[in-house]
Structure formats: structure tokens, C-alpha cells
Symmetry: C2
Subunit: 358 residues, 2 copies
Amino acid sequence: MDKNNNIRIKDIAEMAGVSVGTVDRVLHNRGNVSAEAEQKVKKILRKTRYTPDPIAQSLGSKKDFEIVVIMPHPKQDEYWALSEAGVSRARQEWAPYNINIQIETFDLNNPDSFARAARQTLAAKPDAVLTAPVYFDASLTFFKNLQTSDIPFILFNTQIETRIKKYDPLCFIGQNLFQSGRVAAELMHILLPEPGDLAVMHIHENIDNAMHLKEKERGFRDYYKSVSGSKFAIESFLFPDNEGPIETQISQCLDETDLKGIFVPTSSGTFATAKAMQNKDREDIILIGYDLLEENVEFLKSGTVNFLINQDPRYQAQQGVKYLANYLLLNWEVPAADLLPLEIITRQNYQSFLDYKH
Amino acid sequence: MDKNNNIRIKDIAEMAGVSVGTVDRVLHNRGNVSAEAEQKVKKILRKTRYTPDPIAQSLGSKKDFEIVVIMPHPKQDEYWALSEAGVSRARQEWAPYNINIQIETFDLNNPDSFARAARQTLAAKPDAVLTAPVYFDASLTFFKNLQTSDIPFILFNTQIETRIKKYDPLCFIGQNLFQSGRVAAELMHILLPEPGDLAVMHIHENIDNAMHLKEKERGFRDYYKSVSGSKFAIESFLFPDNEGPIETQISQCLDETDLKGIFVPTSSGTFATAKAMQNKDREDIILIGYDLLEENVEFLKSGTVNFLINQDPRYQAQQGVKYLANYLLLNWEVPAADLLPLEIITRQNYQSFLDYKH
DNA sequence: AAACCATTTGTGTGCGCACACACTTATTGA
DNA sequence: TCAATAAGTGTGTGCGCACACAAATGGTTT
């Protein structure tokens, strides 16, 4: 027995000269405690550095908790299918602790669908929310409502500057997107030491709303600014869904330009670009994209994609639920940010990432 | 209540028409159960897919467990200091569950010291062992003794082929070293597309015993074999501790050769080589090494080291203890191997790895 | 002074499991 | 036939906590 000093509520009660009930009330701020008793107990609590036994704690309560995850529909994009896989794992992991997880999906191309998902979530009055706040404006009103309903929430994948509005998520889980863009640029620079035309391609997404894509581009450009005497020209291209087939748009762009390197800040954009390059027989262009989607890995193997940066959506979701679960069950502290490492994927190491289970 | 089907031992007992004591005996193979009762209980167990509530389980037992970690002395090498940090974290993490962790250290340059540590460990009769089996022969006899004492053990960092000898560790935690060498070669090839002389440098270690270094070299060479029409010459160099100051040896080697790239398969060897390169003003040579040691990171930042591959010793140790603890406490299954992802570190992403806490 | 509150404090039970112990039945030998 | 033994079975307690409920206290009202 060396345990956690072996101090139990019972011991605290004894030392403070009160009953365990009173200690319990102090610990949980349940009120109905005289100022005097409260002081005595708190003093002992501090002195003994009491920490509750987490095991007994969760055995004793047996409450049910409801967590809602709001994310884009997994059928729409393999990236989000990976996120969903993370949620599924988390669901299994936490089922024994009576944590129920509900998924609300929305349409990536339709901000209104996010608002609807948000409304449904609020109506369900969950104990906590995990969300990928893809749409800036809709997210902010949602956060406001969560806040007034006193529902804790965590953001993943997309970091939104909430502090200005005083909306206060427990945590953000994801990459430092700016730095992620810098890593992409660094890799590009290694593969293309000689000056040439570069492109940042925004595919599918409408960039207005998508803060996170801007951040990656900003990082990418920032790196090249710091390359002394840089002769690189970096141009941005937008390929929205409503202007004809994506691949046609990209192919046309390849025809009209003389690109040496392309950076695509999204996972599904990556293989779309790779396909266009393949069709046009322009696999000489250096392509750096995101994530270990099946198609991306194929293009990595064939050499069309030179590097991938891994965002590990599965882990992001799983970790988000974990934080919320521990917060609800055991009142654990949640870090303000969980910034994932910026993982570089090549032909030689992709398998080790695919095999790895957190 | 959707829990784990809500099935408790009590329910099993009821359904099988026996008492909870009998169910308990069946569950833990404690014997003293009639064949008839055992069958009845096992049938219900299967039918209901009963799984014990892990929380209540560990509350109920309150046994003490002793885990010994055998590893090189952390003062000797910063790499092992990181491993020790992992053990310390694990110690904290598992203290509430009455898991005590003892560290036995040995001298990296002295196989006998490993044998001594092994002897002391056996004398202490721990419940489980986590060890970095740096020395092949000494490790094998140790494993034999562990096996006869029925002490489960996990290997980390260095993979030893134990199956031939029928020594059966629960798990190996670490990198696929062969593939790790291939990753290094790939990176080298990206930075040096034009043919030139390459070196694999074995520093400090005496390679005879050190299987893991050979594996990395084998992978490195294997990659270049597959490069079509490769004009690369790869030479191995040994710089043992007993032939004068390491840096002098390396410097001399740099003088006598015309190397374009160097691969160092150890973490401490990496900055030793970088220092020699710096002194000789030969920072043009491409250097690929291992691990986020402070000195390595400095040389990465300055550009002397081009890439690092991260082995995450902290995580390896922490994870090893975690597996053992869950195995002892809850009888959890341990995977035969936990092969870590092969993480590529550059100037732009090292910080994200340093910041990241598992 | 009794009755009535509000406030504060103490007690008891249950969570699901592990394990020690008490108990019952069948078997054997004297 | 009865005690002694072994094999099989059931009961009870505790782990540390949460929470419902009972009890005590002190003050106010009639």
C-alpha cells in the first residue's frame, strides 16, 4: 500500500472532525455547509493534497452522460469517414462508463445544414459537445447557445478564434495549421531547390468560410518569404464545385500554367489534383497534400504525390471524446489545446502510420 | 443504462442457477467447481458475452504489483534519460492502482552489468518486467530465467528474435528497424539525387552485440539496392569508445574520404558526427540521424543535421508499463508488437513533436 | 412552552467485483 | 455407524465514493 497517500474521504472527515457527508458536500459544492465546517475541511483538503480515487469515484456515481459529435457527413468525404471511425472507437471505449455518443452530421456544402444540426443538438440537451466548426458564422451562434445552456464543448479539426467573442471551448484538437503550411513549404523547397512557379490549390471548398485553409496557405507563403532571395512565384487557385467537374478545371489550369510544384491543403483535393496530373501526364510536378486516404496513399506509392502530411482525423475525434468523458466523469482538467505533431508521410513510412493504432 | 448489457456476475449466477462464488471461481479458474456447474456457467458466460466491469474489478482487488524496468543508465545517454522520463510518467499514472515501478539500470558499455541487473531483478521476484535487451546473449539467459519463474515480460527499443529459442515476451515495443533504415535512405536519396559516396557510422556501440544497429543498416542498404542503376557507394565505419576520442576518429574519417551523405543509426552518434562536421567545416555533408535529443535538435536547427527520425523513447517506456499494468490488473490482452510510426523530423516540425504529450 | 421551520450534520446503502470464510454434501476409512 | 476428510457451494464483507435520507441543531413564531 503506497497508494495515493491512502487518504480517503473518511480520513479527511476524521481529521476535520466532521462526517463524510460534510466532506462530500464541500468537495462537490453542494452547499448546506456552515462556513466554519467548510473552512476546516478545505484546510485539511489542502494539507493532505487529497485527490479522489478515480476508480471508486466512477463506480459510485453511475450517471448517464450524453455526448453529441457534430461533423460533416462521413459518406461525403473519406477524411470525415476517418473521423467517424474515431468516434466509433470512442463509443466502444466509453460504453462501460455509461457515456452515450450521438453523431449529428451536416452537409459540407451547405451551411444551413450545420445550423440545423446545431439546433437539433441543443434540443437534445446533451452533457457535452464535440464539433468540427467548419462554418465560421454558424459556429459562433452555436457556441453562444451552448454557452448559455452551460454545455461544455470541444473543437476539433478547425480552429476558430473564439476568444474575441468570449466563447470558451474547453479545448481545440488539431494541427497548428499555419505551421503545417510551413512544413509543406519546407518539403517543397527540398524537392525544388531551383526557383519555379508554385500553386496553392483550393478544391471543393469555398474559401471564404474556411479559415483553416487560409491558415495553411498563409504558413506556406510565410516560409517562402523567409527563403533568402526567393525567386519562387506562388499563385492561388480556386476550384469550386459549381463550375464544372473539378478534374477538368484542374487539367485546364495545368495546361495554362507552367507549375513546378502544387500544394493542396485538403485531403480530398489531393487525389483530385493527382488524378488530373496523371491524366495530363504531368507527374513531374511536385505535389504535396494531406492525409492517408486510400486514394492518396495510392498516388503516394506511384509517386504522383510526393509527400503527405498526416492530420490523423481518427485520433482527433477519439481524443475529443476522451477529454469530454473524463471531464464529465471525473472532472478532469482539459488542456486548452491539443496540437498534434506534424507528421510527414513518404512512400517508405506510410505503412507504419497505417498500421499504428493509438 | 445501456451499459455493457448491464450483466453482472450476480446475473450470471442467477441464470446459471449457482451462486456468485461459483461464477467467480469459474471466471478466475480457481478450481473447486464441479464439471457440471462449470459447464452451466461457461455457457451463460458465452451466451451473454459477459465482460467484467473494469472499474469495479480494480476496486475490488487492491493487490500490490511490482514491475521492474531494466534499462541503461539514464545519466549515460540522453536517449535513455527520455526513456526514464517515460517510466516516471507511468509511475505517476499507475500509482493509484497500486502498481509499483522499480528501475534497474546497467552500463551500456558493460554486458556484465546487464547480467547483474538481471540477477537483482530475479531476486526481487517482480510481477512483471519491462526491459531494453541491448545485449543479445545476456538477454537470452535472462529471458529463460524469467520464463521459468513465470514472470511476464515486455521488450522495448531493441527487438530480439526470441521465437527460435521459444522465449516468449508478451510484446515488443519499438520501431521496425529495417524499415526505419529504409526511410533514412529514402530521405538521403531525396536530398542527394546525384550519385556519391555514403557512409553508415556506428558510434560508441560495439556492433557485434547490437542487433538493432545492423537492422537499420540493412534497411538502409536495401533501399539503395532497389534504386535502379544506383551508383551510390555505401561504406560502414566503426568508431568504438576504446580507440580515442570519438570526434577525433570521425574528423579523421572525414579527412580521408569524400562523403556526400552520412547515416548514423543512434541518437548520441548523431550529434557526435554533427560536431565533427562542424569542426571540419563540412556541414555540406547530408546527415541523417535519430531522435529529438536537445543537441540533435540544435544541429537540426542550424542545418548540420538534415533529418532526424524519431523513436520516441519516452512513449515506448510509458506504453510498456501501461501494457503490463493492464495485463496484471485486468488481465488485458497485450498485442504481440507495438510498432511505432516512423516519424520524420525537420526544422519546421520538430517543435510540434517536442510540444506533443501523448 | 410547544410547534414549526430552515439550516446543518450524520448515517446508511449501493455500485460490481474479489476474496476470505462458513457451510453443505459426498466419500472414505476405522 | 460415525467421525474424518475432501470436494463443492454459498454468504458476507470491504474497496472509496456518491447520494438519498434521517437526525440534530438553532432560531422564529404562535
